[in-house]
């Protein structure tokens, strides 16, 4: 039975990584947000599995919060902002799709390489998840760097955060409840504020393309 659960946990982690990679390859805004939502759903599934197998009930709270906030509320908010400011449906890329995918692949390799020294301290099941988590964090950051719109930067940040929660689940069976609540609170408020400023930027430049934000320099 434990084997089955461990395999399912791995499956969830792999799906999360796949969705991050797909996000690198997508050129449309709405699917990008939906991919984030799906990724969060797998995170919640994984949390449930970990909670069940390690018998730690507080992780269920985290799973519920993930479903409510990250699967439903935040994607809805992002789509709402996009509708409100009439953002164009295409994602602006500064790195083409083949390049993005190649970069994502390299990042996965790097993650396996950098997590190698840590593996001694961990059990087998956690090894994959840790490397996957680091890859997702790196790919999320890459997404933020290579996409030009305010909304895509936000999705990149949120996917980074998902990778982080995956890592937390994998190596320490979740963090203390207070850390998780704090993290949810922080992300939630950050997304609201980012939405407000995306709206302001849109009003100033009639676009949420952050390449317009190049005035402050010397």
């Amino acid at each position: 039975m434990d084997d089955v659960i461990n395999n399912l946990i791995d499956v969830c982690a792999v799906f999360m990584l796949l969705l991050s990679v797909f996000a690198m390859a997508t050129t449309r805004m709405k699917p990008l947000v939906l991919m984030f939502s799906a990724q969060s759903f797998f995170l919640a599934m994984m949390a449930v599995l970990v909670a069940w197998s390690s018998d730690s009930p507080h992780i269920y709270i985290m799973a519920v919060l993930t479903v409510v906030l990250k699967v439903v509320v935040m994607p809805w908010m992002l789509l709402y902002i996009m509708r409100k400011i009439n953002v164009e449906k295409e994602v602006q890329l500064s790195l083409g799709i083949p390049g993005s995918l190649l970069a994502a692949g390299v990042l996965v390799l790097i993650s396996y390489y950098v997590t190698e020294p840590l593996l001694g301290s961990l059990e087998t099941m956690e090894r994959n998840s840790l490397a996957l988590s680091v890859s997702m964090i790196l790919i999320g950051l890459l997404l933020m760097c290579t996409r030009k719109k305010a909304i895509t930067e936000t999705v990149g940040l949120l996917m980074t955060e998902n990778g982080l929660f995956l890592g937390a689940l994998a190596i320490s069976h979740g963090m203390p409840l207070i850390v998780e609540l704090a993290a949810f609170f922080d992300v939630m408020v950050a997304v609201i504020i980012i939405g407000i400023f995306a709206n302001r930027i849109n009003r100033s430049f009639n676009s949420v393309d952050t390449t317009f934000l190049r005035r402050l320099k010397e």
Binding site: L118, D186, A190, I193, F197
Partner: protein, 484 residues
């Protein structure tokens, strides 16, 4: 809970509530400094026994001498910024830069910002410290973007995105530190400050190393270490000057506090690791900031670069890691917090008088703005480390600490500080000379003179006669660094 702590929290709560309920900008601009004064008095009253050597440890609160240092700096600078806001924001309102609705929002957020910073230093769980540092970003984003111009929106956008990434990286570090405590500390206490210090030598060294690196990287984004510093000059130059002063003098300290706490644990569990990272970040920040100061054209950006430089010096002090170097880092931190608002406040008045931040367009300062000119000159002399001022004590101790075993660091620091001094003096001289423009006069009132004057006096006082109480206070903080 002790009555002092309860009183402090109650005063903070009531002050925030009062500033939230009063919407009339004229009234609020008078009430808010009074609230800030009340918060400062209540906090200092609570801190007196702590500064005397006691450690307050109860429930979720933990205040030792290190937290007391940071808390008192927030009180001093917060009060100064609130009083100075009356003059600065009042003029902005008259000139139509801000709507009355924005003025009310400004004061409410300013009060909340000060209270959150004080509370961040008073908690015992590192997770809550992390939350506090994150919350300060969220509140201050609106203060940075208060003018709603294109430039200030851009500054606020960069600020929230970069600092959110930073805080996420710091959380990743926190996760690894937590993972390193498994087996050493009971999981409900795992990120508890006292528990971490007690069990520091039992933590898993590999996880702790990676965790420390990520925490320093993450909080370092908010401290303004190069190369994660790019938000800093934008935010500092676009925010209203009282807020710039607060950001530079105490917000950067909040993140530095997180770095210092993890540094203390890491130095016990994996000695020599955190020091190396901080030394590298410190030297890079110092060197890059020195050259940015020389080529700066915008007055407030130049001051922002100087914050990066000072954070670099503090990191170098921590990076050397001997007791003298840590003393130097703490002195530098306190001195910078007291000195930088002088510069930002006087620069704010100058910018309002001339209507530009470009230094090439500012001439004849002593004629057009006699008081600001005097204050800016005093501030520049203080920040480049001219002897009677407090920064000199910090920089001198840092150099004496570096000479013992880190001569090459001392050499680099001296070279960079000379470049910084040259850059500052050149720009100051060009702003003081020349013809003053017609029809532009500064407005000087009590609310401009009092905060700037008090800070200059404090900086001189600490530089000339460092009282024994302060000496003992700093020594007791250094004693907390168990790893050295």
């Amino acid at each position: 809970m002790s009555p002092e702590l309860l009183a402090m929290l109650a005063v903070m709560g009531v002050s925030c509530l009062v500033c939230f309920l009063i919407r009339e900008p004229k009234l609020l601009s008078k009430v808010m400094p009074v609230c800030a004064l009340a918060v400062a008095v209540a906090t200092m009253w609570f801190l007196v026994p702590v500064i005397g050597g006691e450690t307050y440890d109860e429930g979720m609160f933990y205040v030792d001498q290190l937290s007391a240092l940071f808390m008192s700096l927030v009180c001093i600078v917060g009060l100064g910024a609130s009083v100075y806001s009356y003059a600065y924001i009042g003029r902005d309102r008259e000139e139509g830069e801000l709507l009355s609705r924005q003025v009310s929002t400004y004061y409410t957020l300013l009060m909340l910002f000060i209270c959150i910073m004080i509370a961040t230093f008073a908690v015992r769980s590192m997770a809550v410290v992390w939350l506090g540092v994150g919350a300060t970003t969220l509140v201050s984003t609106f203060l940075v973007g208060i003018y709603t111009s294109n430039e200030s929106n851009e500054a606020a956008w960069k600020y929230i995105i970069l600092c959110s990434v930073g805080i996420t990286v710091a959380l990743a570090g926190l996760v690894l530190v937590y993972a390193s405590t498994i087996g050493a500390i009971d999981s409900s206490l795992a990120l508890d400050w006292t528990a971490l210090m007690e069990a520091a030598d039992k933590l898993d060294p590999n996880l702790m190393k990676m965790g420390t690196a990520l925490v320093i990287l993450g909080f370092g984004t908010k401290v303004g270490f190069v190369p994660m510093h790019t938000w800093l000059p934008d935010a500092h130059s676009q925010a209203p000057s009282p807020v710039s002063g607060l950001l530079s003098a105490v917000l950067l300290n909040c993140a530095m506090y997180g770095v210092i706490r993890f540094y203390m644990v890491a130095e016990i569990s994996v000695p020599g690791f955190a020091t190396t990272i901080l030394l590298v970040f410190g030297l890079i920040s110092l060197a890059v900031a020195a050259f940015l100061i020389v080529q700066a054209r915008d007055l407030k950006r130049m001051l922002a670069y100087s914050s990066i430089e000072n954070m670099g010096l503090i990191a170098i002090g921590l990076g050397i890691g001997s007791p003298l170097a840590i003393t130097a880092a703490l002195l530098q931190l306190a001195a910078h917090s007291i000195t930088k608002p002088i510069l930002f406040f006087s620069a704010g008045s100058i910018v309002q008088t001339y209507g530009t931040r470009t230094m090439a367009d500012i001439h004849g300062l002593p004629k057009a703005a006699p008081f600001s000119s005097f204050a800016l000159t005093a501030g520049v002399l203080a920040i480049i480390g001219v002897p009677p001022f407090a920064i000199f004590v910090g920089e001198f101790s840092l150099l004496s600490a570096a000479v013992d075993g880190y001569v090459w660091v001392a050499a680099i620091v001296i070279a960079m500080l000379s470049i910084v001094a040259a850059g500052f003096v050149r720009n100051l001289v060009s702003m003081r000379s020349g013809e003053a423009p017609e029809g532009r006069h500064e407005r000087v009132g009590f609310t401009t003179i009092a905060p700037i004057g008090c800070l200059i006096a404090l900086s001189l006082f600490l530089g000339l006669f460092m009282p024994d109480a302060v000496r003992d206070w700093i020594d007791s903080i250094v004693a907390l660094f168990g790893g050295i």
